[in-house]
Symmetry: C2
Subunit: 108 residues, 2 copies
């Protein structure tokens, strides 16, 4: 059975994006970060809503309004479509394990 906390012995240099379940309606993915951040001056500006939980590690998320959040293991956030954000820090020891759910959630 697949386990969300299981990591390869040797982590690659880049972030790992692994779809765990994918369809036109939804993408559930695991992301493993080991120090990578959003490139300087760039923002995520996503077409879809995202709900994301950091399951292991520590990370910093910043928003276009200048605010930011330090995420510890277990912290979760909702990122509506087109809410610009960037990742300013991800821990490498331990690696960050994110579980992200992307879709058009049609919240009212």
């Amino acid at each position: 059975m697949a386990n969300i906390f299981s990591l390869p012995n040797q982590l690659v240099e880049s972030e790992i994006f692994e779809p765990l379940l994918a369809s036109e309606n939804i993408l559930i993915e695991r992301i493993v970060s080991t120090g990578q951040v959003t490139p300087e001056g760039e923002w995520y500006n996503q077409e879809k809503d995202e709900w994301v939980v950091l399951l292991q590690g520590e990370a910093k998320l910043s928003y276009a309004d200048g605010s930011s959040l330090i995420l510890q293991a277990g912290d979760y956030v909702f990122l509506p479509a087109h809410e610009k954000h960037r990742v300013d820090y991800t821990s490498s020891k331990p690696p960050c394990i994110w579980l992200a759910i992307h879709g058009n959630f049609q919240l009212k």
Copy 2:
């Protein structure tokens, strides 16, 4: 910020179902189990698809064909709509923390 691993000091007798994000399209919920199981002879037979990960604790899931799975922290499973299943065991020390995503995923 909300944390998926944070539990109340005093857990109630019953299972706790907490919607973390809910719309017509999707339900992301945390479930906290402390020994509860599906009542004898009953099955979950859900209208929607479910992807679920056990984030803490240990549990046993059984299927109508007689097969079963022991879930450890981090194990995840996909339960298509109408795949009959039941929960035969949930640990109370530590409590089981599940993260479940329900929706019509329209997998092909």
